[in-house]
Symmetry: C2
Subunit: 425 residues, 2 copies
Amino acid sequence: MKRLFTSIVMMSAMATAAFAQQAIFNQNKVTSPVLNTNGTVTFNLYAPFAHEVKVTGDFLPKQTIESPMGKWEIDGIEALKRDENGLWSFTTTGQLDPELYMYKFQVDGVDVLDPSSIHRSRDVRMNMSNFIVTREAGDRGDLYSAHNGTPHGDIHQLWYDSPTLKTTRRLSVYTPASYRTSKEKLPVLYLLHGMGGDETAWLELGRTAQILDNLIAAGKCKPMIVVMTNGHVENNAAPGVDGPLTLVEGGITNPEAVPQRATPHLEPLAVKNDGRGSGFPESFPDVQKFIEKNFRIKKGAANTAICGLSMGGYHSFMISQLYPKNFGYVGLFSAAISMSGGQQSTYDLLTSDKNYKKRIGKLFSAQPKLYWIGIGATDFLYEQNKDYRHWLDEQGFPYEYRETEGGHIWRNWRIYLTEFTQKLF
Amino acid sequence: MKRLFTSIVMMSAMATAAFAQQAIFNQNKVTSPVLNTNGTVTFNLYAPFAHEVKVTGDFLPKQTIESPMGKWEIDGIEALKRDENGLWSFTTTGQLDPELYMYKFQVDGVDVLDPSSIHRSRDVRMNMSNFIVTREAGDRGDLYSAHNGTPHGDIHQLWYDSPTLKTTRRLSVYTPASYRTSKEKLPVLYLLHGMGGDETAWLELGRTAQILDNLIAAGKCKPMIVVMTNGHVENNAAPGVDGPLTLVEGGITNPEAVPQRATPHLEPLAVKNDGRGSGFPESFPDVQKFIEKNFRIKKGAANTAICGLSMGGYHSFMISQLYPKNFGYVGLFSAAISMSGGQQSTYDLLTSDKNYKKRIGKLFSAQPKLYWIGIGATDFLYEQNKDYRHWLDEQGFPYEYRETEGGHIWRNWRIYLTEFTQKLF
């Protein structure tokens, strides 16, 4: 049997790979990343024919660079050193805090996933390797991990009709472990992604299922259904998962545009396709109708929350105004408040267009239980959110405010989800 | 607004990438792959600092190589040519047949996904870019694509208790579009992955949801529930999706072993962990019990099918013997019949251990409606399946046999799924 077993493993390794490459790789038994006993982390890549290997990721201190639009924060980047056998390595200078980290190699200038790790996250066009550091129960790395013995909720990927958009679209739903074992109706959180994401982003990068499983098991948040939509009206579904991948003459979507997406509509859309999710807020009643029909939920504003990050924060800002009686809880995570505006400041936008005062006034007159704003101190949307808070203060509309370190990053959005869900229902 | 919009797109691009890299990439507007008007396909990679770029994938003719175990078929590999700006290209010599193809680049010896394509498939440790070629309605590429206007089934990812394994495990379930709109009970197909896979393999690489959606919509197969388990008892769930990614001292799983997996059990397993899915067949009643409890299904052998590829073919071979009254339809796709055996031939294994005759005899005495065997003519498991057919012939046990071109590849397994499902229920 040993021979057969070996041959199946080898076939598995060779099925889609060049044999020599894999054989060399396996001979060298590369492990990466490695958590060292002193708490540092080492990254290894076997690349004997490469001339330069670097690693970049959010585990490294941010760098500030100059761009045509001003200063930007980007992930740090470090060179790996080659040993005499062609193994390249880099070790962090200090311990890493408990967290989910993203990284990738650059081999002679080209992005490469870590071939020694199976842990990868997709954010539409970007693929990153990832790893979690955890030191003790309850720390952030622990919260983002699945645990044996903790009841796990289920994930559903469903298609719904959107008469408003005149098409069928996909969404993801998290139902907590108790949903299948009890007959109880549950409240609903609508959780919206950013411009780079789709209906899988909050699951892959946001660790929504793990956070909810762990918070619910610890009694820190109420069991709830979480609905993750796809706010890009120009796409039916997340790329690759369900899309027609058919090549068309002249090649697939030009990558210079908004991050590429799959599952394009074959029929003309009923709304303008601008890559910013315009038209999605107006179609939101289709989502709510679908969820109310297909899941055992508690209805009404007291049992309904909406929140989202960046573009999804803008969507939450708009949807809660358009349907002010539907939501008792609203969360804006690093929200692009001015997304539909022009060159003017957010404050000028809000004061010059009286619709905002009228609609947001209606929302606050219904006395929502929570209007929550979270943003990082170095987020490029900080000023927009400052303007918005200033405007809300002037109107006398009450909200909760949370400011964290750092910028427009998933680390913050996982923190906001963790805090926001504990305040719901 | 244009300025804000641009800045969000740029932030999105830069969030986890080095700025210079992305800026160069975007300036060059690389599109890849490109279907040319003459039906050839061009692959492009912008890599000005690379010294050698190759492409490998199943769209190229297979190569035969010598290995310590004899001759093996592997994917072809071709060199890309660099232009004066650092853009590397390769164009196929002929048209490609309608199909889902997998490919990757090798940059100075290191595997690289196509950064210009968002279409990617994961098979545990391997990530490949992919594309579908289709020419007309009903061809293979068309069958593997999602279509607007075709009713789409739902995907569920659920955790179930396995008292036999003393743990909680995850599985995927496809429910057809009619499942939510009617109250009808449906038959069940259990669909098992190979040694390199997990509960997502048949969805990602097998295109199960698209194939079933399209066949059902065309009236070519009955609406059915499809259950995709994880046959590796040493893991709870697919890597990354739900696992604790915690690093442990000394690094994560050594990659020289069976392809790495995540979500390891924290508690000792009730069965031996050998990386071959041993112990899974004995735990299968836990799966059936869970499905019968949580889905609206028709019970009994006439409404229950099981099939699987490679290791999953072995599992189907074993599970159908262990529980002969449970399955009216059995499908072995490129099955590793001898997986539990020793060095002896499959024929000798089946004749020397009388349990096979006894158990398989029980299965056939219940007169299953279909016992189906499919294998590629150059599959490395061909002899095993030939031996098994010989043995079945001697016993007088009836089966259907399907032989295709090629070897131990997903292209064949998608064909087998397409043909097998049309014979069910």
